[in-house]
Amino acid sequence: MLEVLGDNSWMAGAVLLATWETIYMVLISTVLSYLFGLPLGIILVTTADNHIMENRVLNRILGSIVNAARSIPFIIFLILVIPLTRFLIGTPIGTVASIVPLTLAAIPFVARIVETSLKEIDQGLIEAAISMGANARQIIGKVLLPEATPSLLLGVAITAINLVGYSAMAGIVGGGGLGTLAYYYGYQRYEDTVMWITVIVLIVLVQGMQMLGDNLANKIVNKRR
């Protein structure tokens, strides 16, 4: 890559740093969004009608909140949560600060994607567990999550890939990472090379994440087959 850059070799350092920042943001916000989104998704599934913790009121309330949060475009969301970010991190600018809007935006997404994975599980398996006298916690821990693991892993990959896109958007408003790089050098200073390198790095990142997710999921599926 360095030869291509020629006397612009300063770019290599900038690209490397920005790539690291993006990976860091995406990784942390993926973990954090699952910390909240996974339980939320589990509750969404299990409180649904005829499920193990049926609770119509709670289910409808959580469902509406998740839908509302998901209907806000991320770019607006970014601006909306600035006061919160400032309160939590001290500044709305930078890589660490970006983690707040990224995580908050991903939580409802994760909740829905987890819900979809868990919903696919055969009702018969849940009934079998109930017939053995399992409680809700045991059914979640021993039936729902293990049975849905491949699908959940694919969900993690989709979430992380989405967050790569979101992080680029955050970068434009000063969030750091590849988004900031592309914006400053590519858009404001017309450095096409930086633009293209950014695009290539993004493609590689997304491909890598998808492949990792697919591989892990396939490994589990193949073992069980």
Binding site: D122, G124, L125, E127, A128, A129, I130, S131, M132, G133, A134, N135, Q138, K142, V143, P146, E147, T149, K223, R224, R225
Partner: protein, 343 residues
């Protein structure tokens, strides 16, 4: 073991009511294999699922081992369920677990200590003949093997009662027979009460001691399997029995008869025999004693659970007086005689 009284179940589906069980009362005795047979939609699954409260009854009471199951709170119900095993048509094994861990599953639920649980799983796998498959995943097993895992899993917590919802309906006839034999063995070895539902009279014939026929949400007939096979009382039971052992004589035979002289009479009769008399040469001794001729039209010998059962359709020809005596002789020997045609 199970005492069901005036059980009704109404489903509310998309605005209208479905009466799935209508005032069902039934007693299942300790240690017996009790079958419930009925056509699709008759309410069999609903009935068996009410017994471990997978469905909540709309009305009525269900006592399992003397305990009213409909009145238990959540925690009590979980404990009660741990002592009621259940097996399913679709096996419902966890694809995420090996055979060994699937059988371990109910022991994890009841928090049995590891070493003890491991020993128990090994015993169970031996019982169902799957020791060599312990490390495999369900997807790598045949249907019959899957059901064996299901049975081992259902027995893990030493249940007093085993519920079977069409456990053999997804299996071929040969595998079905093997699984039924396993159920029969378990019933004897563990003195386990088994309640099974099926739409296949062969299953009833093979393993059940008693049977209830359910039709259109109601129990229409209950009795010993032999009794129902030899003498079904309702059209539903009759058609179930006929599906397994043909008792109906083709119409043409009812109207045709062998040529015979003026001083000879002929009767078309059905002879049914159950148990010991199936082994005796009664027909040939009748022929010798009463000097009649016998033309065998149709015959069938079978086994109901462990009892031989058969029926023969015979045309008996002879002197009119002797003919009646000959049939009375068979009746005297404990056979059931039904005259289908006189000529």
């Amino acid at each position: 073991m199970i005492e069901i009284k005036n059980l009704s179940k109404i489903y509310f589906a998309s605005g209208h009511e479905v009466l799935a069980l209508d005032d069902v009362s039934l007693t299942v005795k300790k240690g017996e294999i009790f079958g419930i047979i009925g056509l699709s939609g008759a309410g069999k699954s609903t009935l068996i699922r009410c017994i471990n409260m997978l469905e909540k009854p709309t009305q009525g009471s269900i006592a399992v081992d003397g305990r009213e199951i409909t009145l238990l709170d959540q925690q009590e119900l979980r404990l009660a369920r741990q002592k009621i095993g259940m097996i399913f048509q679709q096996f419902n094994l966890l694809s995420s677990r090996t055979v060994f861990d699937n059988v371990m599953f109910p022991l994890e639920i009841t928090r049995v200590q590891r070493p003890e649980a491991t020993k128990r799983v090994q015993e169970l796998l031996e019982l169902v003949g799957l020791t060599d498959k312990a490390g495999m995943y369900p997807a790598q097993l045949s249907g019959g093997q899957k059901q064996r895992v299901g049975i081992a899993r259902a027995l893990a917590n030493d249940p007093k009662l085993l519920l079977s919802d069409e456990a053999t309906s997804a299996l071929d006839p040969q595998t079905t027979r093997a699984i039924l034999k396993l159920l029969k063995d378990i019933n004897r070895q563990l003195n386990l009460t088994i309640l099974l539902i099926t739409h296949d009279m062969n299953v009833i014939k093979e393993v059940c001691d008693r049977v209830a026929v359910i039709d259109n949400s109601r129990i229409v007939e209950v009795g010993d399997v032999l009794e129902i096979f030899s003498n079904p009382q309702t059209p539903t039971s009759h058609s179930f029995v006929n599906a397994v052992i043909s008792r109906d004589v083709p119409v043409e035979l009812l109207h045709s008869s062998t040529e015979h002289g003026g001083d000879t009479a002929s009767k078309l009769v059905r002879v049914s025999f159950i148990g010991a008399s199936a082994g005796k040469p009664l027909i040939s001794s009748m022929i010798r004693r009463y000097n009649v001729d016998v033309n065998i039209i149709y015959g069938n010998i079978d086994r109901i659970k462990d009892t031989p059962y058969g029926n023969l359709t015979l045309e008996v020809l002879g002197h009119p007086g002797l003919l009646q005596e000959a049939l009375d002789y068979l009746r005297g020997q404990g056979l059931e005689i039904e005259v289908l045609r006189n000529a």
